[in-house]
């Protein structure tokens, strides 16, 4: 079917004979010179009579010929249908059964498995063989269909996060018995052993022609995380001992913003020949509590994921005792047994209740605390309401107090009867009581009650309608021992006995610890044993798929506690996170101490690797190459015959522009990297915030910006010498990038060509104006247009100011505060002495104050001042303090400059002190008062 030449197969080899025609083509092409161009040229009169130096016909150059020959050769070879790596296997016949392990162990290499399947199916399709596929992890009866039907379903074929179990193996073995004769069985194995695999191999060998195809991928798995000796201990196992290998272990979790990210990482090192490695991660408790999963780097399977559960969290439990200050009576301390019980698994907080609450502990234990102050009570109630767990123990104080006597205290689950009771003592009837077995709906259900637990005294609950629901443990005579009620998101639990051994022997027994555990006061490290989980039902929250991704559990049914702990994984028990009440348990693919065993096969079964070599047709590439060559030929021919002249004239320019653009593109990020802009910005902000800084808006016109800078420098100097305002160096402000909040005053010179700020910048400017900033607009044209549109600066000002939030304006009235904040002024000259300075209009109802030459004006400072006197030019000084620009002529000019400076001083004073000077309207009233 396919002829192979030099390792390349050809579908139409006879076409290659066309290559023989190439030399003829060479000779033909060589003889034909390029055609002439007819070109219009008035200067032809000057050419008349000029003879060519060479009279020989111009020949096509050899390289152009070679290019054309190559193009033709590429077309011929491309049409001959070359195929790299042609498959020349003899196809078999008869149906094909594909067995897939499809367990988590193959998930990492699953794309290769599907590629292989695709190829196998394509092959079977070419031979017209029916195909059936069976996944061992989720077996179904083999259905023989055309390979096309299977190929369309290939994308939906996914591995499962468990290994084939005995049930599945049995199902498949039964199916193998019914196979038609002559079936070829191809078993795509993940290379990991599991119980029943050997039997299945034997059965498959009997049923048909068996071929094993094995993933050549290294399978690694991780054990559940254990918290021991202050570190998280993780075991990593591999199937085959090999050379030394380092595996990265990543701890993933949520950062404070709730985003999943890498929290910590470590490296597990397999020694040479070892199949186990270990890594210890030492993390602070806060970080540890955030970890949701551990992953092996480079692995993509459920086995390489270890989910974190409560075992990683050490709960913070606050212990608060009613009696304090008694030293030496350790064993009588109300919290001694609690401390002993909780110490191994929880962090214990002690201190005053109000100091502890802000730390938001997981649980608070009040041992014989009767009354709380109202502040403590409300704080505690709020904390419980937000999900806290409050565990109270009874005691003499509680029994003696009136807490929850007549009405139920919010922080007590039940009402209490006066006094409590005492049984089995010297002065009472009866014997000490034992505990009744826990009811099924109690959180303690399934816990074994030791025989030696006796209760001699307790507080008694008032029989209320709600009492029965709240009892979660009771004595053999039915009196409640532990009661519980929900309060908001949290709950309140009351042990009707003391937390020490005074009233019962409960704190002395192991049951006490287990009860605390069930109440999620403490958590046991690691996976609990099956018997510990007796009587609990665990609902799957999130389950792992074979690739190690957590998915929502959906409607999966709950799992019995013991089954969760001990049963092998399968369709009914998926790896994932399970929840029961307040406790969360993770069931991982690998159990602690589990190993991986490589699958071994009988010697007479052929085993292949998954070395997949794809057939690669080369025809398209060769034809594409031919097209490229022909395109190059077009360009070269045009160039040779002079038809590219005009393009060539432009080419260097275009090339230079291109090179420049590339260079710029390359340089620009480099520059940005060179100077860290954010650090720069921060330093600038600090400088601006540190001292009073006058600022001007950068217009992009270097001359204007320099003048503005020099002007503000001159004004700053004047302020420094004459007033108590001592500004530091003024700054230019880029409205787009800089923060405006630091500047009390923005001087904005108008140039006709400055860019319009962006919408963002305007939002910033409006914020600035609303929050008390002031912008001084200076059209610098002596206001010849009276802010109309008849001057370019005026037009620009209108454009710039339109989006700003500007109040109604009026020309500065004679009694404006600006006229007397420091100097008494009536003119506001700059380099020009124009009138027409506009400020925010006074309220219409302003009245002339009695006995004062000015009105009782509005509070606050005008947010904008419009003028055109080019103040900055009048203020401008060089570094030595000499004026930069002339103002007016002679003494009158100097006087004008002085007035300009005075206006500047008044302006800054006005910005800084607001309408302080306007307060003089109140002087008569003040004097009047002083006189009294």
């Amino acid at each position: 079917m396919m002829t192979t030449i030099l390792g390349i197969g050809f579908t139409a080899p006879w076409l290659l004979l066309g290559l023989a025609a190439l030399p003829v083509l060479w000779l033909l092409l060589r003889a034909v010179p390029p055609a002439p161009i007819r070109r219009m040229f008035p200067g032809v009169t000057l050419l008349l009579g000029l003879k060519d130096d060479e009279t020989v016909t111009d020949r096509t150059p050899w390289w152009l010929l070679l290019m054309r020959i190559l193009a033709v050769a590429a077309v011929i070879v491309g049409l001959a249908g070359p195929v790299l790596n042609p498959r020349s296997q003899a196809p078999g016949s008869g149906p094909v059964l594909v067995l897939l392990d499809a367990s988590w162990a193959g998930a990492t290499a699953w794309t290769r498995v599907t590629d292989l399947l695709d190829q196998q199916l394509a092959e079977a399709g070419r031979a017209g063989r029916p195909v059936a596929m069976v996944r061992l992890t989720q077996p179904e009866d083999p259905v023989f269909q055309t390979s096309t039907a299977w190929r369309s379903r290939l994308a939906g074929l996914q591995p499962q996060p468990w290994q084939p179990g005995p049930a599945q193996v049995t199902t498949v073995m039964a199916a193998l018995d019914d196979l038609p004769a002559g079936t070829e069985i191809r078993w795509i194995s993940d290379g990991i052993d599991y119980p029943g695999r050997a039997d299945l191999t034997a059965a498959a060998r009997d049923a048909g022609d068996l071929r094993i195809i094995q993933t050549m991928h290294e399978t690694l798995a991780i054990w559940p995380a254990k918290f021991e000796d202050g570190v998280i201990r993780l075991g990593v196992v591999r199937a085959l001992p090999g050379p030394e290998r380092v595996v990265g272990v990543m701890a993933q979790g949520r950062d404070p913003s709730g985003t999943e990210r890498l929290l910590a990482g470590g490296e597990a090192v397999f020694a040479e020949g070892e199949t186990r490695a270990q890594v210890d991660l030492s993390l602070p408790a806060e970080l540890r509590a955030r970890i949701t999963r551990f992953e092996l780097q480079g692995q993509n399977s459920a086995g390489a994921v270890s989910l974190g559960d409560d075992g990683l969290r050490r709960r913070e439990v606050a212990l608060i005792a009613g009696r304090t200050g008694q030293e030496g009576l350790e064993l009588l301390s109300p919290v001694h047994y609690l401390e002993q019980a909780l110490e191994p698994t929880a962090d214990i907080l002690t201190g005053a209740l109000l100091d502890i609450l802000p730390a938001n502990p997981d649980a608070i234990v009040l041992a014989d605390v009767a009354t709380l102050s109202p502040a403590e009570e409300s704080a505690l109630e709020e904390w419980v309401d937000h999900g806290g767990l409050l565990v109270r123990f009874a005691g003499p104080r509680l029994a003696a107090s009136d807490v929850s006597r007549d009405a139920e205290d919010p922080l007590m689950p039940v009402r209490l009867r006066v006094g409590g009771r005492s049984v089995g003592g010297a002065m009472s009837w009866g014997s000490p009581k034992t505990l009744a077995p826990f009811k099924a709906d109690s959180p303690f259900a399934g816990l074994e009650i030791p025989d030696d637990v006796r209760v001699t005294a307790q507080v008694m609950a008032q029989p209320d309608p709600t009492l029965a629901d709240r009892v979660i443990a009771s004595l053999s005579d039915g009196t409640p021992l532990v009661t519980r009620k929900a309060l908001g998101d949290g709950q309140v639990v009351l042990f009707h006995v003391t937390a020490n051994a005074e009233w019962s022997t409960l704190p002395l027994s192991g049951l006490f610890v287990e009860m605390l555990e069930r109440l999620a006061v403490s958590t046991a490290g690691g996976m609990p044993a099956a018997e510990d989980l007796q009587g609990t039902v665990w609902a799957p929250q999130r389950v792992l798929d074979a690739f190690g991704t957590l998915e929502d559990a959906g409607t999966l049914p709950g799992v019995d506690g013991p089954a969760l702990a001990a049963d092998p994984l399968g369709p009914d028990l998926r790896p994932g996170l399970y929840q029961s009440g307040d406790r969360r348990l993770a069931r991982n693919v690998m159990a602690d101490g589990g190993t991986l065993t490589a699958a071994t096969w009988p010697a007479d079964v052929p085993v292949e690797g998954m070395g997949l070599v794809r057939e690669r047709p080369l025809g398209g590439w060769l034809l594409g190459l031919a097209l490229l060559l022909l395109a190059a030929d077009v360009v070269a021919t045009l160039a040779l015959s002079g038809r590219l002249t005009s393009a060539r004239a432009r080419a260097p320019r275009a090339a230079a522009a291109l090179a420049l653009a590339v260079l710029m593109a390359g340089l620009a990020p480099g520059d940005a990297r060179a100077q860290d802009p954010s650090a720069d910005q921060t330093a600038r902000d600090v400088m601006a915030a540190d001292e009073l800084v006058l600022a001007h808006v950068l217009t992009g016109n270097a001359e204007v910006d320099d003048i503005a800078q020099a002007g503000l420098r001159g004004l700053s100097d004047t302020l420094y010498f004459r007033t108590s305002v001592e500004p530091s160096q003024p700054m230019g402000v880029d409205l787009e990038t800089d923060d405006l909040a630091f500047f009390p005053l923005l001087y904005w010179p108008i140039t006709p060509d400055q860019p319009q700020p962006s919408a963002k910048a305007y939002a910033k400017l409006n914020d600035y104006l609303r929050s008390g900033g002031m912008i001084v607009f200076d059209t610098r044209d002596a206001n010849i247009a009276n802010f109309g549109s008849s001057s370019p600066n005026g037009r620009k000002l209108q454009q710039l100011a339109a989006p700003l939030d500007i109040p109604p304006l009026e020309p500065v009235p004679e009694d404006h505060v600006l006229t007397r904040t420091f100097y008494l002024l009536q003119d506001y000259p700059g380099r020009y002495n124009g009138r027409g300075i506009w400020v925010e209009a006074a309220p219409p109802d302003a009245e002339i104050a009695e006995g004062m030459p000015f009105r009782n004006l509005n509070d606050g400072v005008t947010p904008v001042i419009f003028g055109g006197n080019d103040w900055a030019a009048a203020w401008a000084t060089d570094a030595d303090g000499r004026p930069l620009l002339p103002v007016g002529r002679g003494f009158a000019g100097e006087r004008q400059r002085e007035l300009a400076h005075r206006f500047g001083v008044n302006l800054v004073m006005y910005v800084l002190t607001g309408n302080y000077k306007s307060d003089q309207v109140h002087v008569p009233a003040l004097l009047d008062r002083l006189g009294q």
Partner: protein, 290 residues
């Protein structure tokens, strides 16, 4: 009907071509401020020349009262005498001018007309009389003359290379010849010597396309004149470049010598350069000889 339509259509097209050329010429002329070319003596004119005491015979109306009121003597304000010149234009309308080597460049004819008309606008504004050489449009003054000039410029001649028109030249007038001067040289020589005989001085402006100046051609090429009457084939155009440039330089040199001998000035303008610089040169060259 169709003939009339066709004529109308062509007339419209022609008329449509006029205003843009005029507008552009006006625009271009607006960039040049009129220089002073007074006669340096009292006479008819607009500009102040001097005050002189009143002499018998002066009309009372001519007394300048503003000046006279300063003293007891009465003065008359005299104006500078300004005269009008006749300037004759010749703009090559041959087919060889209708050539542009690139779409982004104007054709030589376009540029030559623009410069000619702009110069005419300037001259008319300066009070000179402008016309064409030959008998078709004798020099006159006024805005209408500009319109007539524009009309004449819009016509194309038949031949490939048009000879300079040298008939009916007014003695001692000024002249401006704009052409590529690629046609037969004898005609130019005849025109210039005849002009020199009559005391006519003027300016030659050679308008060239950049490709004519550089000869950027390669490969096998057949060169044709615009009218198609002359052609030349070469196998390697690149080899001809140097010899072409030599010939071009020789021709320009000959033109220079000829213009020097006849008292004319010669300038070169490439169509990829700005028209304004050429106009400035033309204007100063015309003024220089005045």
């Amino acid at each position: 009907m169709t003939a009339a339509n066709g004529l109308r259509h062509r007339a419209e097209a022609e008329a449509g071509r006029l205003p843009p050329l005029l507008a552009r010429a006006d625009h271009l002329a607006g960039t040049v401020l009129l220089g002073d070319h007074g006669r340096r003596r009292a006479g008819m004119g607009d500009d102040f020349w001097q005050y002189r005491p009143v002499q018998p015979g002066d009309s009372r109306r001519s007394i300048d009262h503003r000046r006279s009121a300063r003293g007891d003597q009465q003065f008359v304000r005299e104006r500078e005498w300004q005269i009008a010149q006749s300037v004759m234009l010749w703009v090559d309308r041959g087919a060889s001018m209708r050539f542009a080597s690139d779409d982004s460049l104007p054709s030589k004819a376009d540029r030559a007309r623009l410069l000619g008309l702009a110069t005419a606008v300037l001259l008319v504004r300066g009070g000179e009389r402008v016309g064409l050489t030959g008998t078709s449009l004798p020099p006159r003054r006024g805005r209408n003359q500009i319109l007539r000039l524009a009309e004449m410029f819009s016509e194309d001649a038949e031949g490939d290379y048009a000879p300079p028109e040298h008939r009916a030249m007014i003695p001692h007038a000024r002249a401006l010849f704009i052409s590529d001067f690629l046609g037969p040289m004898e005609e130019v020589e005849v025109a210039l010597t005849k002009a020199a005989d009559r005391g006519v001085r003027g300016v030659l402006l050679q308008v060239m396309d950049p490709s004519e100046e550089e000869f950027p051609f390669r490969g096998r090429t057949i060169f044709e004149s615009v009218g198609g009457t002359v052609h030349h084939e070469t196998l390697k155009a690149g080899e001809l470049r140097q010899r072409y440039l030599d010939r071009l330089a020789a021709r320009r040199d000959w033109l220079q010598r000829l213009s020097r001998a006849t008292g004319w000035q010669m300038g070169l303008h490439l169509t990829n350069h700005s028209a304004q610089s050429a106009l400035l040169w033309l204007w100063t060259a015309l003024n220089r000889g005045a």
